[in-house]
């Protein structure tokens, strides 16, 4: 945990000289604790204090970037254990595992699967972020060959090179020397050589514990750091769900609550399973519980959609509502006679209302109005879902050109607005719909009669 203002204050000169621009050392300490000021502003701070404060101000989970350019992904930088405390920062990376025993055609096919994995959801482009090349052959030739194919055919996709073979590690990492790969496979037996390769080619080093668990892992990261490698991802070696939960939780806690630096790194989890559905659930555990890289054995579209959505849900900022774009959405294939309903652009409101309209099996237009992501009642209370704003939105939306009728269905919770909307929207009739979305199917059915 970062130091508190009072703890920082104890390390300052306590002269209240004001040279930093703050009235007292205590005020300066408080700003430092909130990371709103830099220690450099104090000309008189001791070297000892500088060192202590420097360590304390480093993020508890080291920020690491995988890959370069547009497809680079950031990992680490997490500050909490529970998402309700503060947003989880960097969404985990999904990587497709590719075995080096595959033919070059098969590898290219997998590359295309990764490239075509992009799905748009609530305005975000979600995708498989990386490829993990696996040294199933055990030797260097096939691995080097496969790395060459990836490097040439898919230069833009970040890679995790998984091998314990030094020759394979050297050749493949060299291919990616300017592209921030992860070289995964350092262990107690090959630590120095693997560190040398990672350092030479500026790769992030993936360290795996064998049977020694987190204690062994801590020792390994410290050794690697002494060898000059700072960018590290860690694998506690667990493969069972129960152990993954235990290890990931203890690692995140040690980093965040104890500021234990030897485990303050992103975690890599290998989720591959024979049973594809179980693998999906395994990956879900990683998403919820602190994995930064999750390696998968296959990336079917149904599986991607479920995992991407979970990642999006878990990493959503709990204080900022998800929003959808303001526009008139078509549900089914509406005609010029189809009903027009209006609601706000809080993503949950939109999803639920559009889902229920869909369930009603009546093709409709759904006008979704930008209310800064607030739900209907909240938006109304905050003055963002008002008669004049609704009238303006309907006029400007151009819906009048698509429908013959002039009837607007409003949420039951804002029934009070019906009169004033009719005043402001000339020639229109306002109908009050149900208060809750689950009343929509019955409401629509009753209108058909």
């Amino acid at each position: 945990m970062a130091l508190t203002g009072v703890e920082i204050f104890k390390l300052l000169p306590k002269t209240n000289c004001k040279k930093c621009g703050f009235p007292t050392c205590l005020a300066f300490a408080m700003k430092l604790a909130q990371r709103q000021a830099s220690l450099d502003l104090c000309p008189d701070v001791s070297e000892e204090a500088r060192q202590k404060l420097g360590e304390a101000s480093a993020p508890p989970v080291r920020p690491i970037t995988l890959g370069t350019g547009e497809n680079a992904v950031k990992m680490g930088e997490e500050t909490v254990l529970f998402r309700h405390d503060k947003r989880f920062v960097n969404p985990c990376v999904f990587a497709l595992g590719i075995k080096d025993t595959l033919s070059s055609e098969e590898i290219e096919k997998k590359i295309n699967e990764v490239r075509n994995s992009v799905i748009d959801r609530v305005g975000q482009k979600l995708k498989i972020d990386a490829i993990a090349l696996l040294n199933d052959s055990g030797g260097p030739e096939k691995f080097e060959n496969a790395a060459k194919i990836l490097s040439e055919k898919a230069p833009e996709i970040p890679v995790i090179l998984c091998t314990t073979n030094l020759s394979a590690a050297e050749v493949s990492t060299k291919l990616y020397s300017d592209r921030k790969p992860v070289l995964y496979g350092a262990n107690a037996g090959n630590l120095e050589d693997m560190s040398g390769i990672a350092k030479n080619y500026k790769a992030t080093l993936g360290i795996a514990a064998s049977t020694g668990g987190l204690n062994e892992l801590s020792e390994l990261t410290e050794k690697v750091k002494k060898l000059g490698v700072e960018d590290i991802v860690i694998d506690p070696g667990a493969r069972k769900a129960k152990e993954i939960l235990e290890h990931n939780t203890l690692i995140r806690r040690a980093a965040i609550k104890k500021n234990f630096k030897p485990l303050g790194y992103p975690i890599i989890t290998f989720a591959q399973r024979e049973d594809n559905l179980l693998e999906t659930l395994f990956a879900a555990l990683g998403v919820a519980k602190y994995s930064s890289i999750i390696v998968l054995s296959s990336i079917e579209r149904w599986k991607n959609l479920a995992l991407f959505t979970l990642r999006q849900n878990i990493y959503t900022d709990p204080q900022v509502p998800m929003q959808v774009e303001q526009k008139i959405y078509k549900i089914g294939e509406p005609t010029e006679e189809s009903p027009l309903l209006i609601t706000t652009n809080f993503s949950l409101t939109y999803f639920i209302v559009s889902g229920e309209v869909e369930n009603s099996k009546v093709a409709s237009y759904l006008a979704v109005m930008d209310c800064e992501g607030l739900s209907v009642l909240t938006a109304w209370a905050a003055g963002k879902f008002t008669a004049s704003k609704i009238a303006q939105f309907i006029k400007e939306s151009g819906i009048e050109g698509s429908i013959k009728h002039r009837e607007l269905i409003i949420p039951g919770y804002v029934a009070i607005l019906s009169g004033s909307i009719e005043d402001k929207l000339e020639g229109w009739k306002v109908t009050v719909g149900p208060r809750e979305a689950n009343g929509i199917p019955a409401f629509m059915k009753s209108r058909m009669k």
Binding site: N215, K242, L278, A288, R301, G355
Partner: protein, 313 residues
């Protein structure tokens, strides 16, 4: 630097709640740690998954989840027996959806008859759910509670608008009670307090903080469940120490991702596998967040989640 595992112990503990009778009685809850954190405390009772069945044929279920039950779902008794005897269900959740005024509008007497028939045909624990119509549920659940008297069921859901009658029925007939509120830890706590003020034993309540499907507010349910567990364990709040129920299937099998045909949304992949994964991923997320009881629909999703629980226990 030596690594000392930062284990945590908590002053609070989740109440152990038993449901059902005889040899098939099941206990959930009882842990004094966060979900599956057996490395630092006791997490000995396995979360329970109940198979959801209806009092009327599930015409509103998407095809992929109707399919496994096509031969049995015309009759709730054959449906329940199929789940117990063929699918090895550990519990059944009978939802009396046919009593909803917008559905078949079945009477309380009809509902009670169905409950009686179902409970007499199985020996595993039964959860009895209304149609979520607060007024109708009051009368339906009273009748259902009487029809299953002394069989130690869970009945629900009691909400702010109707908890008095339903809680009274649970007391009179020796059942556990689901207290449901809408995605807000404070509302959940308040409802638990109101129910216990009626003289209802706080250790016989099951919390339903309202489930949501993956992609449709899952993060809200997830965080409310985590906060309820932390309030019960870390703050030792006796009004937040009940087992939590996740009504997963009902929320999952109505979203587009579980229904849309692959032909219409080729980017989403196989419809059936997508639906099963949607339910299973939602369920596992709820378990990790703190749910001890799940109500689910697709046998393959349940099977996969049970395997996951095996590995987490």
């Amino acid at each position: 630097m030596a690594f000392i595992p930062p284990k945590e112990t908590y002053p609070g503990r989740v109440y152990s709640v038993s449901i059902g009778t005889g040899q098939k009685e099941i206990t959930v809850g009882g842990e004094n740690v966060l979900p599956f954190h057996s490395f630092e405390g006791a997490f000995s009772n396995r979360p329970l998954i109940a198979y959801e069945i209806h009092d009327v044929p599930p015409s509103d279920w998407p095809e992929s989840v109707q399919k496994p039950y096509l031969d049995v779902c015309a009759n709730p008794v054959s449906w329940a027996k199929y789940c117990q005897d063929i699918l090895n269900a550990k519990a059944i959740a009978l939802r009396l959806i046919g009593t909803h005024p917008d559905r078949e509008n079945r009477s309380s007497e009809d509902a009670a008859k169905t409950v009686k028939e179902v409970i007499d045909s199985i020996d595993i624990p039964l959860i009895i759910l209304g149609s979520n119509h607060t007024e109708k549920d009051s009368s339906v659940l009273i009748a259902a509670a009487e029809a299953s008297k002394d069989r130690n069921c869970i009945i629900g859901k009691a909400q702010e608008a109707n908890y008095k009658t339903i809680a009274a029925a649970a007391i009179a007939n020796n059942h556990k009670l689901i207290a449901m509120s809408e995605l807000d830890i404070n509302l959940s706590k308040q409802l638990n307090i109101l129910i216990t003020q009626m003289g209802f034993d706080k250790e016989k309540i099951i919390i339903d903080p309202m489930c949501s499907a993956l992609g449709y507010g899952l993060e809200y349910t997830y965080s409310v469940m985590e906060r309820i567990r932390l309030a019960g364990l870390a703050q030792n709040d006796p009004t937040m120490q009940q087992p939590i129920l996740g009504d997963v299937g009902m929320y999952v099998w109505k979203v587009k991702e579980t229904i849309a045909d692959e032909k219409d949304v080729p980017l989403w992949g196989n419809t059936e596998e997508r639906g099963i994964a949607w339910e299973a991923v939602t369920a596992v997320s709820m378990l990790i967040a703190g749910a001890e009881i799940l109500v689910m629909r697709h046998p393959k999703a349940i099977e996969a989640v049970e395997k996951m629980i095996d590995e987490l226990m």
